[in-house]
Symmetry: C2
Subunit: 963 residues, 2 copies
């Protein structure tokens, strides 16, 4: 070894070896302590053992790496020297805390051991030195408890029950009331039990205690809960946890002492207020445990105004320094303030916007307040300027907001406050008792309603005023009516991209899928879950945040959008250059999408309209069972007015914004009746025999419907379907125009695989459209374009572009075909492909985040070839990926004109589009006025870039992406 | 119009305006007549009206183009002048024949009108001039009949019955016996009837007759039968038919006259003999109609030795000139020979080889014979050298052979000669009476056997010695046992690429699919066809050449390969550079394939083996229903010896040739039991409950199995399956080696979509393989490669190549995924895409001929990127396309190392590969010895070419291909 590895980073006494940016090496907590030390804040001295040491520990089979022991001993010597205390001493013992701290905070890891270094001898010394035996033995008792449970894995209740028994015997309510003698006896009892239980005596050597605690932290890195957490949260690239060893300060040394936790702003609504609690004469863990009621910081202001002022200065310094709201821990030891932790604080989605906006518009302190704190020497003079200005730029404020924050902003949630009020500490047990099972949290939010097991019953009950939750084995387009009236949707099968999930996501409606515990009996309108029968009408609640299903009527809260959301989204729109449209099939969806900031419709699916009423359903079914063109045309004539009305409503709602309408796409058999009753009704309505209907169903059955007779292939076989739809679109457009409104229809031909195929249908479309416009005597500019959703279409995009006014990448199907991967079936094996602990072949589910490595090559080729043949070709995307932030950034980078996504994902896409611009070095033209002019230019630039990119794409990918 | 278009090409009197190569303009017949005239052969003078005139006729709405009338009249003047006769004359009338003649011969078009120009007046003149009233009125009678039926569309029987009645009345048997007076009366009767029927008198003006006949020829170009024929035979690019107008010569002018047709060689076995017939005192149509028995050419030799010698010279001249066997028509008019037609003759597949080989090795005439004919002035002196040398080179002989010839060579056929003997003229009616229906002729050949409606019964009956035809609604892998013992396979559904068709094609077994008339009842072991019940055991015959199904036991003939086949295929192998392997799953297949010339196995499907016996089926099913790895491994242990034995047999059969084994590919549910009985048996064998088996089946059901949990995805989920298969392969290899034989296993991982996915499986494969070799203490070089059959794999081929020793393009699945087209479902709409009269989007069914325009881009990209990363990477193809000639040529062009196809297509692929070399300008190294050395060099060259090709592929395609 050329140079010894540095495993230990010292901090304290005004100087730290570590820095804030060394989170990966020192963990979040360690980096925070080092940084606070360097800033000059009062931090108890100590040292951080690096994550690399943890990694080395694992690599060597649980041995400390060479040099670690020596470096730890040196650090302790330094602590002893500076503090004039001695570790494990019988006169003036040095006491330590040991805390884990990875780069990301991570539940399931060992957290804290306090008062380490106490032994029978040093506790006695502490009692003598502080002249406070109760304090000393209470500290010792706490240490033994913590060490036993946290380091040695003893069950928490075992020792806690002994403490409890003692209090009962003495007739006491609070720990602080137990006299010193009794505590001393309790410590002895604890230690005796420890030896019995563990088979060796409680360590009486301080350094041995420390070694045990450090190893416990190392080991906790791979505790099952921590591993699971990392997998679920997709935390990768971390090598281990750091260990923070710090000199103890005591909040439990009397009424001039205390411990507190606080946020520099209100984390639940983002208010610009100091938000926290303090508990006098207590150690940090007591605040968290909630044994006594802590006091609000305002009380601290009243009781210890100087400490409060110091904390005010700390708040201003740290927020200015970190440019973000901080989550702080502090201890007051006999009137002296010590900072124990700073980290970016978790906050509610509302608070994300409020805080980011405030930080970009308001200073931390008024000049007056700053001057006062400077005068008191709590605030260093060098901060007086910065703390009186906003800490963030608009762009930085945008960066503070994430897709998940927007998402969470719109979903109702289980009202945990109301539950708290109702059940107090028993909330968790209450929820556990009522939890029926867990499924896949396909769409977050929450829903409460009466269980209903079929879609028609759902509609009936909803019409009668019930709130219902629709529960199905799996859903089909037939269920859409029932789904639309349900509060939430629950299925026994399927994954995040199953029919239920996709439809629900479009509506922003809570949906849990793949809840395998459900055994649904649709005939008898009930289900069995682990032996329990749930009948129609029973209340169930869905928690889409974690996939829990409860047999209970839980309270919900509905979010109200904060003003700051609108303000920041306005900044977002000023920055972004990528257009954001929506996928919407109804006037209501369209209106919702405009509210969410959509600039047009990028995908209007015409087939969903067919399911809306019985009459429509029958008409489309009649069309399908028709055995010749003539009868087919008759059925289509019935559908025409419905479609025209729908388009009219959508055009009106969109008020001149572009509306891209996709012609019918799914295979015809999807529309056919499934149950004998439905067949019966269709037979009655059409006069076609049941046998003939069943025969037709069988005829239309496909081995691989995804690759079957669908999309524009239907229009090649049955041109009359296309004619009817184009007629409905243009007649609606003419009617809207007649009302003096603007209308911009864009007709989109799906599933094209060949230039000639598109040319045939494009010409047919223009024929019908032009004849209607000619007849009406109006000019309405309309576009005819195509989806690029089959590899062959991307490969031949240059020739396809000759017949297309625009391209819209259907990346759902493009992913399926390019990867040979059925979205409906991938659930059985794709999780292993994505799971880093299994095969770990893909970084993400390719149906959620666009596979840029593979499918992306086709997208880039499609864009480059398309624009080669037709410069300035308008190009968008309308798959699910249009609402995925990473994918939106990608769409910006490859030069698309717009993305289209479901209404609730529109703000997410807007945000991602803005971030994409900033990632390229910020907006070139921040003024919204210049945006439009700039767009044409940048589109041209993008196109030529895309061509270049495509031809050299292989090399580039290899260089720029690591998978 | 700057220069008048030339619509009419004159020929005759030793000189013609047209040339042999002007087939497109003059039609085949016209070009032949022009060429024969120019060569100096005796051709009655005349003229050809061009196909362009026909085209102009259609374009203008059935009007003659400007100039046509004038040019025709000029040509007739010329004929009149040179022949000193006059058209429609009452003294010395010029008589004409009118014949259609497109570039390809085409049934359904108007064929011939003879004796045109005869009227009441001119017939009388002819009678006078020839002093042969019987001849004159017989000619007139024929003309009226022909004109009425052929030009005016009257039914043939109408006038024929009058002729018949006349003969009956006179008590005569032959036409020639009818006296002139009766014929004259008959003519009058015909004309009277004509006027009644048509509403206008029979044209008495010769030029009017001619106009009518020419228009009739033009119109017949678009007669339904002709249109259908062009569609079925995929004849495109023709603009119309030519019309040949020629001075009449008469074979019916007495016993010194006659008409004949002949082939320059025997068209049915290819023997080098003059093969034809002559009928004295008859016109050409009499020979064809078979009214009197014609005489063999030998009789002519005896009766008219000079004419025969002239014909011998004609034969030598024309074969030398056209370098191919000719189909001739001639007439002898009062001792003078006239040639009326020459064209390349149709021949049996045997004859194709025999003739091509003979033409490349033997001269037409011996020197002595040539000298004799020169001496008699029948053979011009300039021919004496060329006719005594072989007319073809080896390469030209290869060019003469086509894929279809090879294909037809191997299939049994309905023995029409035997039928002829049995039924005489009633053959056609006999076949019609027994035809149950028509299906799609998926695999040609013929089959006869007893009808059986399920696979197990087929096996039972076959074991009992019955020949059976398996009839199913559709087949599944479960049926493979029954299919393998059947003589032929017939299904009610499916297309040319359905399971039945693909499997049967692999075996070269006659198969008719999609025969929709069949209403099969599998339970009652019978079917209903148009009301008729066919029971198990009834004899049926399949004619795979046209898709006919007969309820009869028809006689078959089995082909015997001619020696010349082997000789020419040897030349083929000397020329080609592309390797040809086979798809084979059993030792028997492997042996067959070697016989067919395969150089290795390119695809050994391991899953077909699982169906071979009940024990194997149960073992694989047990593996699938296993609910945990342990039980799965136990079931796999049972399979191991079966697989090992199979591989052992195949390795032995291939005797050191490379064997590419694909690991298990289809989704597991394909192996599961389908019927309740099968479930019952599996339950008994495994102890797994029926419910559990059914549940597992349901669990494994997939929405789109093609894109589902199959291929290497199974190996990712269940690595133990891969382990078992690799173990079986290597243990078999070790065992073969132990017998002192060579073995070259190549393990192929299917359905790869990602480099990491392949790397994981490749490493697992090597681990298992190496451990077995190490244990056995032998070194057997083996390869691990992958299939490229998903677009993403082609797109990422550079990175995939890093883990692959070889690529094999699975173009079946690549076509499905790249085009988003399910092979199983495309039958409902793809025909419209391929049919030029419907949408006409694709030139060919992309599952039969590789879609070079689209899918080809992925293939080229895959090759270029693969070899970029790994120069010299071995690349092949193993989809159905490997046996399609055009696709094989493509594989050669893009630089693949080999193609692999089913055994019976191996010779076809070899031939195509040779033709591909010749298309590039002939073999550079004709010696087989130098081939191997040359191969390495050319592979390298191809790779760099492929890279270049891929990067500029878009432009290149646009330039070189017209779709």
């Amino acid at each position: 070894m050329a140079k010894a590895t540095k495993w230990v980073y010292f901090f304290g006494f005004g100087k730290a070896e570590g820095k804030a940016h060394q989170k990966m090496l020192l963990g979040g907590k360690g980096a925070g302590l080092a940084e606070m030390t360097n800033i000059g804040l009062p931090v108890p001295a100590g040292f951080t053992i690096t994550t690399e040491a943890c990694d080395a520990f694992y690599r060597s089979g649980s041995h400390w790496p060479t040099g670690l022991d020596k470096q730890i001993r040196e650090a302790i010597s330094k602590l002893e020297k500076k503090s004039r205390k001695k570790f494990g001493d019988d006169k003036n013992p040095l006491l330590l805390s040991v805390r884990s701290g990875a780069a990301s905070s991570m539940p399931g890891m060992m957290e804290t051991v306090l008062n380490l270094g106490l032994t029978d001898v040093s506790t006695e010394a502490l009692a003598r030195k502080t002249n406070n035996p109760r304090f000393a033995y209470d500290s010792y008792r706490r240490f033994i408890q913590m060490y036993s449970t946290v380091v040695c894995g003893m069950h928490k209740d075992v020792l806690e029950s002994k403490l409890h028994a003692l209090k009962e015997r003495l007739g006491l309510r609070l720990d602080v009331e137990i006299p010193a003698e009794e505590l001393k006896r309790l410590c002895a009892e604890f230690k005796e039990f420890f030896e019995q239980d563990q088979g060796f005596p409680f360590p009486e050597n301080a350094y041995e205690q420390l070694k045990g605690a450090i190893n416990a932290v190392f080991n906790s890195w791979n505790a099952p809960k921590a591993v699971t957490y990392r997998r679920v949260e997709k935390i990768t690239g971390l090598i281990g946890t750091a260990v923070n060893v710090q000199q103890m300060v005591f909040g439990n040394m009397g009424d001039d002492s205390g411990s507190g936790v606080c946020f520099t702003r209100n984390p639940s609504d983002g208010s610009n207020e100091y938000y926290g609690e303090v508990l006098f004469n207590a150690q940090g863990e007591d605040v968290v445990a909630g044994i006594r009621n802590p006091l609000h910081l305002d009380e601290l202001k009243r009781l210890m105004p100087d400490i409060y002022d110091q904390l005010l200065a700390v708040r201003a310094i740290l927020e200015t320094h970190y440019k973000d709201m901080q989550d702080l821990e502090f201890t007051i030891e006999q009137g002296t303030l010590y900072m124990l932790q700073t980290r970016n604080g978790k906050r509610s989605p509302r608070a994300v916007f409020k805080i980011a906006y405030d930080q970009a518009t308001l200073p931390m302190l008024t000049k007056k307040e700053a001057a006062r704190l400077v005068a008191k020497r709590y605030l260093p003079l060098r901060y007086s300027a910065v703390v009186t200005k906003p800490v963030l730029t608009k762009e930085e404020a945008i960066e503070r907001v994430n897709a998940k924050d927007i998402e969470r902003l719109f979903y109702p949630e289980i009202d945990t406050e109301a539950l708290d009020e109702a059940h107090g500490e028993g909330v968790e047990r209450f929820l556990n008792d009522h939890r029926l099972g867990m499924g896949i949290n396909a769409v977050p939010g929450a829903a409460v309603g009466r269980a209903v097991f079929d879609a028609e019953r759902a509609e009936e009950r909803a019409a009668a005023g019930d709130k219902v939750v629709l529960i199905r084995r799996e859903t089909s387009p037939d269920d859409v009516g029932g789904m639309s009236v349900a509060q939430g949707i629950l299925t026994a099968t399927g994954g995040k991209t199953s029919h239920a999930a996709v439809v629900a996501r479009g509506w922003g409606k809570c949906c849990i899928v793949g809840c395998e515990a459900l055994d649904i009996n649709e005939q008898s309108h009930q289900m069995k879950v682990n032996g329990q029968i749930i009948k129609e009408g029973d209340y169930v609640s869905l928690d889409g945040s974690d996939g829990s299903v409860y047999l209970a009527e839980l309270p919900l809260t509905l979010p109200e959008l904060p003003n700051e959301y609108y303000k920041i989204m306005k900044w977002v729109d000023e920055v972004r250059t990528l257009g954001v449209r929506t996928n919407a099939d109804t006037p209501a969806d369209a209106a919702k999408a405009i509210e969410m900031g959509a600039e047009g419709i990028g995908l209007c699916r015409t087939e969903h309209m067919f399911f809306e009423t019985e009459a429509r359903r029958l008409a489309i079914q009649e069309m399908i069972v028709a055995d010749r063109e003539e009868t087919r045309r008759k059925a289509l004539d019935k559908l025409l007015p419905y479609q025209r009305d729908d388009f009219f409503g959508i055009f009106e709602a969109m008020n001149g914004r572009p509306v891209t309408i996709r012609l019918v796409d799914p295979p015809l058999h999807e529309f056919l009746p499934k149950t004998p009753e439905q067949v019966q009704r269709l037979s009655q309505a059409t006069g076609v025999s049941k046998e003939a209907i069943e025969h037709r169903s069988e005829q239309l059955h496909e081995a691989n419907p995804m690759l079957g007779h669908r999309g524009c292939r239907l229009a090649i076989t049955y041109p009359e379907i296309l004619e009817m739809q184009v007629r409905a679109i243009l007649e609606a457009a003419v009617a809207v125009r007649a009302k003096g409104k603007k209308v911009k229809p864009e007709i989109m031909i799906p599933l094209v695989m060949d230039p000639k195929e598109l040319r045939i249908l494009e010409q047919k479309t223009r024929e019908v459209a032009d004849s209607i416009l000619k007849e009406a005597g109006v000019k309405i500019p309309y576009l005819v374009g195509t989806m690029i959703e089959i590899p062959r279409a991307a490969l031949l995009a240059d020739r396809i572009a000759e017949a297309a006014d625009f391209f819209s990448f259907g990346t759902n199907d493009l992913t399926q075909t390019a990867m040979g991967l059925s979205r409906d079936d991938a659930g059985r094996f794709l999780p292993d492909y994505v799971d880093a602990d299994k095969a770990g072949i893909f970084p993400d589910d390719p149906f959620q985040a666009l596979d840029q490595t593979g499918v992306g090559l086709l997208v880039e080729m499609g864009i480059a070839k398309g624009r080669q043949a037709r410069p300035g070709l308008k190009i968008g995307i309308c798959g699910e990926h249009g609402g995925d932030p990473d994918s939106v950034v990608y769409c910006h980078q490859v030069g698309m004109d717009y993305v289209s996504c479901s209404p609730y994902r529109v703000p997410i896409a807007r945000l991602a589009a803005a971030k994409a611009v900033m990632a390229e070095g910020g907006p070139k033209k921040p003024s919204a006025a210049k945006k439009v002019a700039g767009k044409a230019r940048s589109a041209a630039k993008k196109a030529s870039k895309a061509v270049k990119k495509s031809t050299t794409s292989t090399k580039k990918k290899a260089r720029t992406k690591k998978r």
